[in-house]
Every structure is written in C-alpha cells, then in structure tokens.
Amino acid sequence: MTGAWLHHLDARLRALLPLATALLAVLADMLPLLHVGPASVTPLATLCVAFFWSLYRPDLFGAGAAFATGLAHDALAGLPLGLTSLVLLLVRHVVVMQQRFFVARSFPVIWCCFVLLALAALALRWSLACLWWGRLFAAQPMVFELLLTLALYPVATPLLARAYNLIPRTADAS
C-alpha cells in the first residue's frame, strides 16, 4: 500500500519536472552569465524550455504552466506583467496545434521550426513592448537575443531530454 502510494507520489513529482525546469530557466535568464554591460542581451532560455515541453509533453506543460512561467519571468525582469506570458501561451498553442507535423521529425527540422517560431515570438514581444511603452526600441538587441536563443536551443535540448526521460510515459503522470 505504502509502496503504491510512494510510486504514485514519485510519478506526480516527476510530472512537475516540465514546470520546474521552466522556472529554472527563468532563474537562468536572471543570472548575469553572459552579460557584457547594461546594453547587453542574453538568450531567452525560458523560450527554449517552453518550446521543448510544448512539443514533447504538452500534457504536463499546460497553458497554466506557460502563463505562470511567463509571469515569473516578467516579475523578475521588471517587464510589464503579461508580456512574456502572452508570448509563451501563443508559442505553446502553435506547437500543440502543429503536433502532427512534428511527429518523428529529425532534430534539424525541429530546430528550423524553432527558428521560425522564436523569430515570431521575439518580434511579437518587441512589438508589444513598443506599444506598451509607446516608443520604438532598437531592433538590434532583439536580433542578438534571437541569435543567442537559437544557439542555446541545441545546447539545452540534451539537458531537457534527460529530464524528459525521468518522466513516466503512462497516463498516471498526467
């Protein structure tokens, strides 16, 4: 009885891994890892993680998780609340809608899709920020942020794949 209960608890905790890794990515975005000054830009690790889980375990990375991740990012980065939430929600929705296309695709194809989606997501975030503040932000930092994010995805994927392998594939986890 206790064994079954512990097994169930273990499965539940493992099912929280997508949200936990997304929140870790938010923390990673806040750390001064690659900073080279206040005009610097960093990769948006949160976007990589949100894309990965929306693709492989959308059942465990629901709309609520995407929203919470975006909200945490906005609150810590001092951005208007809702800005990143909106973008992550849309990214998740597009990936889930195109789930059939992604089935059994090779990594380069998936990465190319990530390129397109990240471009759209960051451009949307930039446009929303321009509208919100009522000023035109320089596009160059956004382009650098995009390039760094695209470069980060292949690095982050093996780490996220390890977390993915820890999650049971049965419906019990959901």
């Binding site: 923390l27 975005d29 806040m30 750390l31 001064p32 890892l33 900073h35 080279v36 000054g37 206040p38 005009a39 610097s40 830009v41 960093t42 629901g62 709309a63 609520g64 995407a66 929203f67 975006g70 909200l71 945490a72 906005d74 609150a75 810590l76 980065a77 001092g78 951005l79 208007p80 609340l81 809702g82 800005l83 939430s85 909106l86 929600l89 849309l90 998740r92 929705h93 930039w126 929303l128 920020a129 919100w132 503040w133 000023r135 932000f137 320089a138 930092p141 956004m142 942020e145 419906a171």
Partner: protein, 306 residues
C-alpha cells in the same frame, strides 16, 4: 480494470481538450488584461512584481554566489598574466595619487579656513548607506534594471542612489520587503541631474538603452570637452551631489554622450545611499494634511466660481 481505465480515459480526454482550449483563451485574456491594467496603474501590479521578487531573491542569492566566485576566479587568472604590466601602471598611478593627496590636504585646510571665515556649516552629514548584493540582472532589449537583495527590512527606500566603488550605478525605483529594483543610468527612463567639471555646467543625463547615455537640457553656451568629468549635481534633492557618473566620450553637433565610470561586467555589490533634502511628494502631502487639514473637494471650487 484496464478496460475501465481506458473507457474513463476515453471520456475524460475530450473534456481535458476542451478545458485546455478554454484555459488558453482565458489566460490570453488575463495576459492582455494584465498588460492594460499595468499600463493604467503600474503601482497595482508593481506590488505583485515585488512580492515575486521577494520570494525569489533568497534563491537567486544562493545561485549567484558561485557564478560570481567563478567569474572572480577567471578574472584573477587573467590578472596573473598581466601582473607585471599592471604593477608598473599602478606605481605610476600611485605617484600621481600621492601628488593629488597633497593637493587635497591643502584644499581641505583652505576650505575649512574659508568656511570658518564665512561662518558656514561644516558641511552636510554623510548619507546613510545600505550595502546590497546584485542578484538578478535580466538584461534584454527593453529595460536596464537589476535586482538587489536588500529591501524595506534593511531601510531601503524608493529614490535612494545606488553607487559602487567607482561611482553612480542608478537609483532605487521599487522596494519590496527583502528586495529592491535599481534603474540603471543607461535605461531609457533614467534622468539624472549632473554637472560637468570644471566649468560646472548643469545638464540632465538621459539614458536611451545604449551603452553611453546622453546629456540633455544643456546651458546656452556649454563649455564642455571630451574627457571632462561628469558628477551628480544634487539638484533633484534626491541624489547626493558630487557622485562620479562618467566622462564625456563624444561631442557631436546635436549630442553629448557620457561613458559611465561603472564597470557593468563586475557589478556585484552596490551601496544604496539615502540623501533627501527635499521631502518626497507623499511625505509632503501627509504633512500638509496634518497642518492644513484635508483639501477641499474639487466640486465646491467649481460651484463658487461665477
């Protein structure tokens, strides 16, 4: 048993899909509403932001320490290679500083004698300071702010100047219980009253998200040159006067840019200085209410006029 589970799944799956779709639409609406409410009243959602920061800051404090330690170690290794060159540079600098020390002593004596002659106060009291560690620096293309691990519990208040060993970093714009957000000099919202030495020309240092902020509201005939020192003027009554800000890096026909003295790559600790000669509007309003009573309603004034 297995069959029951399957039929249950068959029933719940469409419901779950429906719920997911509803949740997506609802959360999109909530995100848009948050953006609109945040635009209308930033204080309301600012409180939510500071609560989240308060909760996360202890975790970030733990995580950021090994990163800072490794960066320091890497910097030390780099310094080892440049030791001989740096030694010669420091000797020359020390010589120059000793000469300046003599000059400063003479000027301090002269200053004290002149003050005595004019019967002036000995000077303003030094501002109170709170030391804080930078725990989050999100960077990005929109805002230039950092989060520090000191808040209202340690006496941090909005408007405090943030300085490090080199000079002005920015000022405090949000205060939580255990965290505070600092607006850096380079942020497009930053405006700092400064003066350019030695002519003491007054201007405003305005950030524009670039590495080097610009001087605006210059006097009619500015006497400025590249390399001149820029310090805070203290005219806002919030930032202490005389804090090093930077040096003029370029003068064009329509723009004077300043290179800040702060080394942004090594921004680990800051001191938050409280210096307020002018009362903040909230305190002033409270005092006015206490002395004069509540303000008359706006409608009365309109009715009395012909």
């Amino acid at each position: 048993m297995k069959l029951e589970h399957r039929s249950l799944s068959r029933l719940t799956l469409p419901l779950k899909a429906l719920f997911d779709r509803f949740a997506f639409a609802a959360l999109i609406v909530v995100s848009l509403a948050l953006l609109l409410v945040g635009k209308a009243d930033d204080a309301l959602l600012g409180a939510v932001g500071t609560r989240v920061s308060d909760a996360i800051v202890p975790v970030l404090g733990v995580v950021v320490e090994p990163i800072n330690a490794s960066r320091r170690a890497a910097a030390r290794i780099g310094e080892l290679f440049a030791l001989r060159q740096e030694n010669a540079h420091l000797r020359a600098r020390n010589q120059r500083l000793l000469e300046w020390q003599d000059t400063a002593r003479q000027l301090a004596l002269e200053n004290a004698a002149l003050r005595q002659l004019l019967d002036l106060e000995a000077g303003v009291a030094p501002p109170t300071a709170v030391a804080a560690r930078v725990v989050a620096d999100a960077g990005g293309p929109f805002v230039h702010t950092v989060l520090v691990d000191a808040g209202a519990e340690r006496g941090v208040v909005k408007g405090m100047a943030a300085v490090n060993e080199r000079g002005l970093v920015g000022r405090v714009i949000e205060v939580g219980r255990r965290s505070a957000r600092i607006l850096l000099l380079t942020d497009f919202n930053s405006r700092v009253p400064v003066m350019v030495e030695p002519a003491r020309d007054q201007a405003i240092l305005a950030g524009d998200n670039a590495r080097e902020p610009a001087l605006v509201f210059l006097p009619l005939h500015p006497r400025m040159a590249v390399g001149q020192r820029v310090v805070t003027s203290g005219r806002d009554g919030v930032l202490p006067p005389g804090l090093a800000v930077g040096r003029i890096s370029a003068i064009d026909d329509d723009k004077v840019t300043v290179a800040p003295v702060v080394d942004w790559e090594r921004l680990e600790y800051v001191r938050l200085l409280e210096y307020s000669r002018v009362l903040p509007p909230e305190t002033l309003a409270t005092l006015q209410r206490e002395v004069y009573g509540p303000p008359p309603p706006q409608g009365d004034a309109g009715a009395a006029s012909p």
